[in-house]
Assembly symmetry: C2
Homo-oligomer: 349 residues x 2
Amino acid sequence: MIEDKDTQRTSLEKLGEFGLIDHLTQNFPISHTSTIKGVGDDAAVLSIDNSTVITTDLLIEGVHFDLSYMPLKHLGYKAVMVNLSDVYAMNAIAKQITVSIAVSNRFPLEALEELYEGIAMACKLYTVDLVGGDTTSSKTGMLISVTAIGEVKDKEITYRSGAKPNDLLVVSGDLGGAYMGLQVLEREKEVFKVNPESQPDLEPYSYIMERQLKPEARKDIVELLKNLNVSPTAMIDISDGLSSEILHLCKNGNVGCNLYEDKIPLDPTVISACEEFNIDSTMVALSGGEDYELLFTVPQTDFKKIRGNPNLSIIGHMTDAAEGAYLITRGNTKIPLTAQGWNSFETGS
Amino acid sequence: MIEDKDTQRTSLEKLGEFGLIDHLTQNFPISHTSTIKGVGDDAAVLSIDNSTVITTDLLIEGVHFDLSYMPLKHLGYKAVMVNLSDVYAMNAIAKQITVSIAVSNRFPLEALEELYEGIAMACKLYTVDLVGGDTTSSKTGMLISVTAIGEVKDKEITYRSGAKPNDLLVVSGDLGGAYMGLQVLEREKEVFKVNPESQPDLEPYSYIMERQLKPEARKDIVELLKNLNVSPTAMIDISDGLSSEILHLCKNGNVGCNLYEDKIPLDPTVISACEEFNIDSTMVALSGGEDYELLFTVPQTDFKKIRGNPNLSIIGHMTDAAEGAYLITRGNTKIPLTAQGWNSFETGS
């Protein structure tokens, strides 16, 4: 047999399932009094005074992430963020998560430790308790299933369905970065295949790469809205792209929407990357996805509270359902929004 | 291209992710007032008055199930049972579940409908609301990740850790059936490979095959204990085998245990299958796993309440931790319990 030169590889079989869970979760402190019992029994026990929100997402190797450029620590962090983002989109505060992972034997213990380091960092920064999960082997690749639990006062729950005609449409942060970061990473992967010695200067792309590899869920926006005394009428997080999320708000609230192209917030590095890749930046914002920003509606009366806030952009307003959902371009053309961005995309132009 | 002769195959791409979730979850009614919002927003919203318990389990094709003999409907049912069993093991009543699935394109819509039929049947029989989940593609095979949420009064929560010396050790139902059912199914799979025309008479194995393919979580036992006015001091469900679960109770409660071989409940079909396969039936009960029975401890004072109940078997009693955990054989030999059954198994005798 060929000797394994990497002394830092501990095989998972050595630990067994229970040893593995104990080992991986040993450095997770409990922060919330609502966590009565975390890891270590048949189920976790929580004591939540207000309403509970619960959401779950699966991340699968080869579908949602590519380990050739996704560091495991970032993957762990992102898996948590994706779920916390859904909790914040209910105007709730995330309190607990469970994390289940399946891995093939090609991953040594040290790889899982790195993954859990990212999970631990996310838990610490967002004050979330890891309370359970499952660890198992897989025949191929890695998958992560996270469930997040949050708490919210009954009156503050914000559904996708509450938007009213004339409400302002507001988005946090900027859009399209995660998608363009992915384009850069995919390109570098191809370059690396051809020339493993290449030393590309990725510094100009650091913002958009970070948007893809290490997104942040917008807990701060939920807190900001509370501080501004703004109660969103409807809210959703942007996982699939602005266009698709707007259509959810329209369908669930039975309203229409006018979205203004010139109001869509874009970071300068997104614009320059779009130019470099010859992609329309509006299209990227509308369809790119994975930005994990919050999209919400507020009554017109809240305009003064939001105007000029550097974290928030008013990008449109809701209309009667009969009027439909449209993008108003810079050239003042009205184009129907579709889940794929806009209609012209579908007809292949 | 070769035409698909099976007209009942609808490809998943046709529906898209949102259409698929809507389609699969349309026949799931909501039974509990604690379910404020189920499928259809960023997160489900629950309003739980008492303590919440939460547990999650992953089932992976090729690791936890084999679709060559596991009908998809049964798989859906079992995936729910595995999780409900953990909720009942906390002495709680399951109220909600989320179900995430990943499937490769080899599965048509009709396969997922069958899977969800089993999930729906489990939800109906156990009065559980499906409140969320995730549906995604996988590069290979199928996986199911279920999270179950239950409710329990604070005083009634039963941890693994509460057993005291002299407590009676009690198990519901009978043991070893699921493991022997698996042996039969694996054998028939091999027979089928050699001779696809064979028509085996599986009727004698129907009980143990059902224990493997369609296990039931013991909600009835939680209700029975309440009716008998018995408060277990510790409880765990039997997923890995009696021996491993007893050791959990011992470790978590800092107690020892004497388990009596002649008290272990075995169905006659398990005994006869063990004879046929030349396997020791005690070993099967100790190490087989997947029986999803409840194992719990009660004070000696509850002896009269439990004695003679056809659903319950008193199989031993707890001791001081220093005395260790032992199997007392029919021949009155004392053998240390190990997670794999007993020690002589490990030494290969």
